[in-house]
């Protein structure tokens, strides 16, 4: 009897398939952050230009637009690969549950249409459309960035907390796709957390690029252009970084109630414990965290608001239903550690800004800022590793195992290797083009983002 659409297959390269999926995500998601945040930032700058007529803002908006186009193109192709992988790597998952979650991706497809269409108009309309019309053509890009991530996260929320269907002899019956995707309370924290992460990553990377320039010329005071270019993304990233903490805490409590085994893996809790301790750092061996710093009863307090609450341990499920604990734990601690660091940078910056009405001038602040960009990308990937690897071995939580979803086709290692090579080449190309764009001569008076001349 088959439990799903297709009978079981033997796949010797499940691990490579999972790594290929992870690689594809790790490339796509940082790019997507720019799709989420950059249009809004650019529109703000253009709005400043429309209000003041100061060409400084137009220069900034146009330069960032060129970055947006380049990254959008790469976001599109990496996203296309992800869509292919739904069938190439996990055909049994899609064949069984496509009718339940597919709607989310179909609606997402329409967001991509709007995004692609208006990016075409916005980017190639600079100086050709009237200023107001041009500004207006940017608004749909911002909106579709929100709806696009909304849909894909709704799918992920469903995988983590599935509902809206019944399985009957390998077929899904009683399918209610709308209820399955949007009646699910699990995805709200994911959506907000990811959305803020988009602004954190984009803001810190952009500000970091100007911090590099600032450090090179230190201690010459920054020009008006440099100050503005650094302050706008930094202010946004700083506010988002502060807001990220409470949302992350909310996420952890949702995980505690709906996915207790993921929480146990995050915390390295081997046995069910009443009044569980929280461990910082350390390594999970033989059912407990060694070499870590224990804070008594904090885990129970954080997860359930009660220092004596009982927290479910990994021992409540058989070993083959536990995720790889150290991967999840290290990823989680990396995210939270970086989150704390980014929060610190944010508080320093906002304090100086509000108190002294200027930018910080310490060299150390700018050194930290240069690091903050790459670190926020690391936090982003770590967060997804926590969510996705923490859900293992399930692809649909408590319904379908990842090894039941995988393809029966051979040759996964070959595709994986080839994809890694192609992405490496694309990464080198993108790095090269961004450097080119950064070095392009700047004449704010009448500069234009001309590719032929640029």
């Amino acid at each position: 009897m088959t439990a799903f659409a297709f009978p079981p297959v033997h796949q010797g390269y499940l691990l490579q398939a999972r790594q290929m999926q992870a690689l594809s995500f790790s490339v796509h998601i940082p790019l997507v952050c720019f799709g989420i945040a950059l249009p809004a930032i650019i529109l703000y700058v253009e709005w400043c230009y429309l209000r003041t007529g100061d060409t400084l803002y137009r220069t900034l908006a146009q330069r960032w637009t060129r970055i947006m186009v380049a990254l959008f193109a790469v976001g599109v192709i990496t996203g296309t690969i992800l869509s292919f992988e739904m069938g190439l790597l996990w055909p049994n998952f899609t064949a069984t549950f496509g009718s339940v979650f597919g709607l989310g991706f179909a609606i997402e497809g329409f967001s991509f249409f709007i995004e692609a269409i208006f990016i075409g108009i916005y980017v190639y309309g600079w100086g050709r459309l009237s200023p107001r019309l041009h500004f207006a053509s940017g608004i749909p890009i911002v909106v579709s960035g929100i709806t696009g991530s909304f849909m894909v996260i709704a799918v992920n929320g469903w995988m983590n907390h599935p509902s809206g269907f019944r399985l009957l002899r390998g077929k899904t019956v009683d399918v209610h796709p709308v209820a399955a995707l949007f009646g699910n309370s699990y995805f709200w924290h994911e959506l907000l957390h990811m959305y803020l992460a988009g602004y954190i990553v984009t803001g810190f990377l952009l500000a970091g690029a100007y911090a590099v320039g600032r450090l090179r010329r230190f201690p010459i005071p920054p020009t008006r252009y440099e100050r503005t270019a650094l302050a706008i993304p930094l202010t946004i990233a700083a506010l988002a970084a502060i807001a990220q903490g409470p949302v992350g805490d909310w996420a952890a409590r949702d995980v505690a109630t709906t996915q207790p085994i993921k929480l146990a893996a995050i915390e390295g809790l081997g046995t069910t414990t009443k009044g569980a301790d929280e461990h910082l750092l350390g390594w999970y061996v033989d059912g407990e965290v060694k070499y870590g710093i224990a804070i008594p009863k904090l885990l129970s307090l954080l997860a359930f608001h009660n220092p004596h609450a009982t927290v479910q341990g990994l021992d409540t499920v058989p070993p083959d239903q536990r995720p790889p604990v150290n991967v999840v734990r290290v990823a989680f601690q990396t995210m939270v550690g970086i989150g704390a660091l980014l929060g610190l940078i944010a508080v320093i910056f906002l304090f100086v800004r509000w108190r002294h009405k200027r930018l910080p001038d310490s060299v150390w602040f700018y050194r930290g800022l240069v690091l903050a960009g790459p670190l926020s990308v690391l936090a982003l990937i770590s967060g997804w590793v926590t969510t996705e690897v923490g859900r293992q071995p399930w692809i649909v939580y408590h319904v379908m195992l990842t090894n039941q979803a995988v393809t029966g086709a051979s040759g996964i290692p070959v595709s994986y290797g080839a994809l890694a090579l192609v992405y490496l080449a694309v990464a080198c190309g993108v790095a090269w083009v961004l450097r080119r764009l950064a070095r392009a001569p700047m004449d704010p008076g009448q500069s234009s983002p001309s590719p032929a001349a640029g």
């Binding site: 400084l56 137009r58 597919g102 709007i114 269409i117 100086g127 595709s415």
Partner: protein, 415 residues
Amino acid sequence: MHLYDVPLVFALIGLGLYAVLAGADFGGGFWALTAGSGPAGERIRDHVHHSVAAVWEANHVWLIFVLTVVWTAYPVAFGSIASTLSVALIIAGFGIIVRGAAYALRSGTSSTAETRVVDTASGLSSVLAPFTLGAAIGGIASRRVPVGNAAGNLITSWLNPVGILIGVLAVATCAYLAAVYLAADAARGEEHDLTRRFRARALGAGLAAGAIALGGVAVLHADAHPLYHGLVAGDGAPALILSVLAGICALGLVWTGRFEAAQYTAAVAVAAIIAGWALAQQPVFLPHLTIAQAAAPHDTLVAITVAVLAGAAIVFPSLALLFRLTLAGRLGYTDNAAAAPTPVAAVLSASTPGLLVRVAAACLLVSLAFLTAADARWAHVIGVSALLVFILTGFLAATPAELAQTSASRENHAE
């Protein structure tokens, strides 16, 4: 027509639009690849890039649309197709990666040598992607994709006479559509040398595509008899005839230099052949799987139909706007000829920064209380709203734009 056919019709319309629109983009890559060196070749390659740059992303999304509709409405068929044809699809995927990356990179190239490297890579992938996608369709049409998880042969399911035929035909059709489109674009810009060149290319590619299609009939007869029968004598026959007529008509229009009309007629020829395939094959989707058996449960079919219709109501007007602006030559990189805006205010600044800071801090505290300390859903709604207000007021209080003004008179911002 039944409800379970409706999403398939949407998917086929999407496939047709992908073939016509993205097909022309791929074909442009083919002409850039074969443009040769020297200033003439460079002119061709620049023309291709400028004509396609603003629209390729929107054209590409049709592929995503087809994939998502099929996996939502016909999940078992999707899983079977994607797993058996995985080799063809992954090669097509690599082609799409290189092609998209080339658009990103071209904006950074400065010398002709660099541009050529990028154009060559993009041109090769522009041949690879339509060929493999066409071959994958050949695999489905010749009934070599059984139901199951990679149940068919990974190689011969698409590398077979019908697959190769449709793959080659796809490449030739793309080249033809691109040449017609680029000739029309050049004629609109009154670039007569380019118009002439692309007219010649369109005629060559059109004749080649026609010859391949004719020869293909013999291949279908030998290798995919049910399809052959359905196309020549079955339900697909009217569509086939329409396609042949439209194809001949389009060539005539190219010959007489009416490129715009030729574009639409050529699109009809492509659309008709896709419809012919569907009509010839229905009601079979895959061997031993009819469309009715492949279809998702009723609620899903209703939901996807509503979603597509609603989406179309938004997307088609937007697409029309994009193409109207492109055709009117209103999109492209230019110097800022448009009038500068009339400034509303000379300076941006927070009116009452002290107050805003306090409001921001208060909102952060409120959100901590409702998001962290409380668990009820309504409390989280309040918490999240307070958090958003915190970000907004915090941003206003910090008005980063103000930094641009502080010493505007003394300094020059330009380097």
